[in-house]
Symmetry: C2
Subunit: 203 residues, 2 copies
DNA sequence: GCCGAGGTAGACAGATCTGTCTATTAGTGT
DNA sequence: ACACTAATAGACAGATCTGTCTACCTCGGC
């Protein structure tokens, strides 16, 4: 936006497909393809073709397919956590209300075109325990549950661990059956059940 | 058990690896391997090697890999449904108690060595919507929910559909997170949550 | 003694997938 | 003008996977 001797990266960025666009294009393409077709269902060649990148460039940024998968899962983690937090916040300042409100994120997800369940659960189904991908999934699930648990603590739940567990069970159930069923009532029922469980636990 | 001129099949069956043993051996081997490593993670060659069968024999009984996968899912369906029904029955004649009791099947499943979640959810994760395998999964989930719904009707639940949905959500959540987490408290918490939901719905 | 059914063993074709490597092109700072 | 960096295009090796096909073997029934 100015004429100072900006770095080359800056200059290029303001003009055309610039320096770091390649990595991002790969990741964006992988995000869509992995989610839609499963990790094993998408080959490197297809990602390369659809992201318009050369093979050497791909392997420069992601030395192995698993590295891309891990980056994909990091991205899913960021996106989904953000949606969960946003839905909770939208329910107002009361932590008990937030515990219920987070189910709105499930509802939005299930309505989304091409919804195919939880990317982490799907990834875990394709990769055995102990692999980096499976471990990454475990970490994600633990993070979400820890966040829910804190909300439960803030809401003065009698047993925050149990409440967090039951709510994440409901959430995972909604996500998992969404990959199969996608019944429109699932998220609504899940939210109602969550409401009941929260009310009982906080009373 | 007698000396009448029995059919050759009968005779053979009482002696050694007889006629239809080959098909069964293949299916049993596939059952273990598919569940443990995922469908895509197990090749035909491995199934052949571990079931001690010739390739031609394999393709005689299962013209394509998908045929074997479908047979595998049928078997899983039979086994899991049986466990669910047994757990429910064990809770006594009261349908409301049975709705809670079925969660004991989840508990047993999670404790089992090598537990890796719901075979159907895992299968669906590896196969896109519209494929026979995905469709088979959908059918299974619908069947289970229909059975639970009937139990809810028998229990005079105010809204049997909603109760059935919320309970299967909890169940699927337990199954799905079991493929990742396997936290020992999950089944216990799921059962407690189910108890709360059933009590509220039947009151 | 012989035949036929069902099984075994394994080579083979063809597709697909991951990852490597070479040769070339375009833009940037000096 | 020149060197450097980043990217492109695509051939290639090596592994793996599905499914076909040939050749042989074994055993019960007639």
């Amino acid at each position: 936006m100015n004429a100072t001797p900006a770095t080359s990266a800056r200059r290029a960025a303001s003009v055309a497909p610039p320096v770091r666009a390649a990595r991002e294009r790969i990741l964006d393409t992988a995000f869509g393809l992995f989610y839609a077709h499963g990790i094993r269902g998408v080959g490197i060649d297809r990602i390369i073709a659809e992201s318009g990148v050369a093979k050497a460039t791909f392997y420069k940024y992601f030395p192995a397919k698993d590295d891309l998968v891990l980056a994909y899962l990091d991205k899913v983690d960021a996106v989904w956590s953000e949606q969960l937090h946003a839905a909770a916040s939208a329910a107002g300042p009361d932590p008990a209300a937030q515990l219920v409100g987070m189910f709105d994120a499930l509802d939005s997800a299930c309505r989304r075109e091409g919804y195919r369940g939880c990317a982490f659960i799907n990834a875990a189904a394709e990769n055995e325990a102990g692999t980096p991908i499976h471990t990454r999934t475990l970490r994600h699930k633990n993070q979400v549950r820890a966040w829910v648990r804190q909300l439960a603590v803030d809401a003065n739940a009698a047993d925050p661990d149990a409440l967090a567990r039951s709510l994440t069970l409901l959430l995972d159930g909604g996500l998992a059956s969404g990959s199969v069923d996608a019944g429109a009532d699932a998220p609504v029922v899940a939210k109602a059940a969550a409401q009941a469980l929260v009310s009982a636990a906080v009373a």
